[in-house]
Symmetry: C2
Subunit: 109 residues, 2 copies
DNA sequence: TAAGTATATGCAAAGAAAGATATATATTTT
DNA sequence: AAAATATATATCTTTCTTTGCATATACTTA
């Protein structure tokens, strides 16, 4: 393996080496989420969450889709999904109460 | 999953987010190596290699064993081995000529 | 069209990591 | 015991990352 390859793989790990980005990716493993949802989940300011989403987006790990006022993010890299599954020993989707105001979180089921 | 968990997994990725450390770990996947071997492989100064080995050692990814003048390092974390196998698409051990002076690299076969 | 809500961007301060260099220690050889 | 070899550590400077904050944009509703 050559230098360039190690470099680019190191860059992937660099993107993953951040607790909030990991938390976001883990959330996106089970469902796509809007920013305000991730904001409620991580308990961080909106601008902060958007900044981390930008890092993930720029690196091609997530894609975004606008729906009205909201922007929904989804995981768009299978390898990273698997990788997270291997490392994050999350025991399935946990029923965390999240105070998110977006339509999806508040639709009548 | 809680904050602490994401934090500690981020720390693992942090350790992996370094091209030379990745190269070292990749080398150790196929065989244990002494420092001078890794020095020849990475073409970095000895002190630099030792510094990276310390990071890996402190994080529990490699262990070391002294044999005479030489110190041999080995991968000692199965999960990380697997993880690397997944990410580093190295096509098996490549026959790179390495100018290492240690006994193992120079024993008569 | 004004006000409210959701999201994105730009920038600066603080903190962390990278890499270079000097030097220390331990082992072997002469 | 001195010289040579292999490895480790300490320290410093530079560069990168993180995070907070101010502000900009875009959509929606009144």
């Amino acid at each position: 393996m050559n230098k360039k390859a190690y470099q680019s793989q190191a860059e992937l790990f660099q993107v993953l080496s951040h607790p909030v980005r990991l938390q976001i990716l883990d959330a996106l493993r089970s469902q796509d989420c809007c920013v305000c949802h991730l904001q409620a989940l991580t308990k961080r300011p909106q601008a902060y969450v958007s900044q981390q989403l930008r890092v993930l987006r720029d690196f091609g790990l997530v894609s975004d889709e606008k729906d009205g006022q909201n922007v929904y993010y989804r995981l768009c890299n299978d390898m990273v999904g698997e990788l997270l599954g291997m490392v994050l020993t999350s025991n399935g989707p946990k029923a965390v109460m999240i105070d998110c105001t977006c339509p999806r979180c508040n639709e009548v089921g």
